[in-house]
């Protein structure tokens, strides 16, 4: 078993870009849990970090939009956003072509994906890395889901992707940590920015930490749009991580709506081994 850690975090650009406008006490508690997540990755001995993230048109447009793409580059650049606006300097992040290739080849045995030998990061990856590997000293393998331009990958296929990724990670000798990063309910980049459906978030997070495959994959995109906004499509990243850790259970470390960050800010871990009393959900 070479999956050594799995976790989840938010990535909204306000987390770094509008840091001084949030309630300081809540913000600092959130940041402290980012630090805890970073420490857990290090303490697990991770030699590479897989980031399951959401595309925000940093790489792909609708002339050629992959449902899911895995990076296979020597390095990645970003963020694409204005540095001052995001509060993160543009940089190069190390990749690992050989590791990416081995993961991609194994994932392809089970599910269809795309790969990219060139990729830029936007806030969706840059904000998590800002906290998790601030020195950019850990090889990163980015996995980008289309959460912006429907039709989107159905959730049961996202879960299956996570299962395929697990087989791939367990087939390589390197110690791998995986972090998924997405918003749950949110209406970013609209005049409703700051609107958060906390009831939906807590319901979804309960399904997530209990790794309830049936519940996690039962949401339709129309239900997500109505209850969680277009930002809610990013739950794909959490569902993929649940598939990666099928049968395991998670722990919610932090959740709080922070409206100026435009999202319910979340930090969680997910067990990497199935719990003894829990048969894999979904009957397969």
């Amino acid at each position: 078993m070479t999956l050594v850690f799995a976790g989840a975090c938010s990535h909204a650009p306000g987390i770094t870009g509008r840091a001084d406008r949030a309630d300081k006490q809540v913000r600092d508690e959130f940041y402290a849990n980012f630090d805890r997540l970073a420490a857990a990755i290090r303490e697990a001995g991770a030699e590479a970090l897989v980031v399951i993230a959401a595309e925000h048109f940093a790489n792909f447009f609708r002339n050629n939009m992959p449902s899911c793409a895995i990076g296979m580059a020597e390095y990645y650049t970003g963020p694409i956003e204005d540095e001052e606006w995001l509060g993160i300097k543009k940089t190069r992040v190390p990749g690992n072509v050989d590791l990416s290739k081995r993961l991609i080849q194994r994932v392809m045995q089970d599910v269809d994906i795309s790969f990219a030998e060139e990729m830029q990061f936007d806030h969706g990856v840059s904000v998590p890395l800002h906290f998790l590997t601030p020195e950019y000293d850990l090889d990163v393998v980015p996995i980008i889901f289309n959460c912006q331009a429907p039709p989107l990958m159905p959730l049961h296929r996202v879960y299956a992707f996570g299962q395929a990724l697990r087989k791939a990670i367990d087939a390589v000798p390197e110690k791998i940590a995986v972090v998924c990063t997405g918003g749950i309910s949110h209406w970013p980049a609209t005049p409703d920015s700051g609107k958060i459906n906390e009831d939906f978030d807590r319901e979804f997070l309960e399904h997530f930490v209990s790794n309830d495959r049936e519940a996690l994959t039962s949401y339709s995109d129309s239900e997500i749009y109505d209850r969680a906004g277009q930002g809610g499509f990013e739950i794909r990243t959490y569902v993929a991580l649940a598939g990666l850790c099928e049968g395991a259970q998670g722990e919610l470390w932090f959740y709080a709506p922070i409206p100026i960050f435009a999202v319910g800010c979340t930090i969680a871990s997910m067990g990497v081994e199935p719990v003894a009393s829990s048969a894999p959900a979904g009957g397969s």
Partner: protein, 103 residues
């Protein structure tokens, strides 16, 4: 019908410094590469973030573009509200106003 090309142009401006530079140096030659209506040309040339929002430009694209145009956060949110006042509801896409914003 040409919203697709408005968004494609903004996508390329956001992510490609060479397109940005060409746009700064000779805007019309860049715009000539895209199939755009007069209203869309006005929205991009201004730039009018409120009108671009109402036209239905994807919110992530527009948020990054507003940042590129040095819109301060509150001004960007206000520009979208002003766009709704001046031009009516969002005409396409996923980023229509649903009410309840907290910031």
């Amino acid at each position: 019908m040409s919203l697709y090309y408005v968004e494609k142009l903004i996508y390329q401006l956001n992510r490609d410094p060479s397109v940005r530079q060409r746009f700064l140096d000779d805007r019309d030659s860049v715009l000539a590469d895209y199939d755009l209506s007069e209203e869309e040309l006005v929205a991009i040339r201004s730039p009018d973030v409120g009108l671009l929002y109402v036209l239905g430009v994807n919110g992530q694209l527009l948020m990054h573009y507003a940042a590129l145009c040095k819109y301060e956060w509150n001004d960007y949110i206000q520009a979208m509200k002003d766009g709704l006042e001046q031009h009516g509801p969002v005409r396409a896409g996923l980023y229509a106003r649903t009410g309840g914003g907290a910031v």
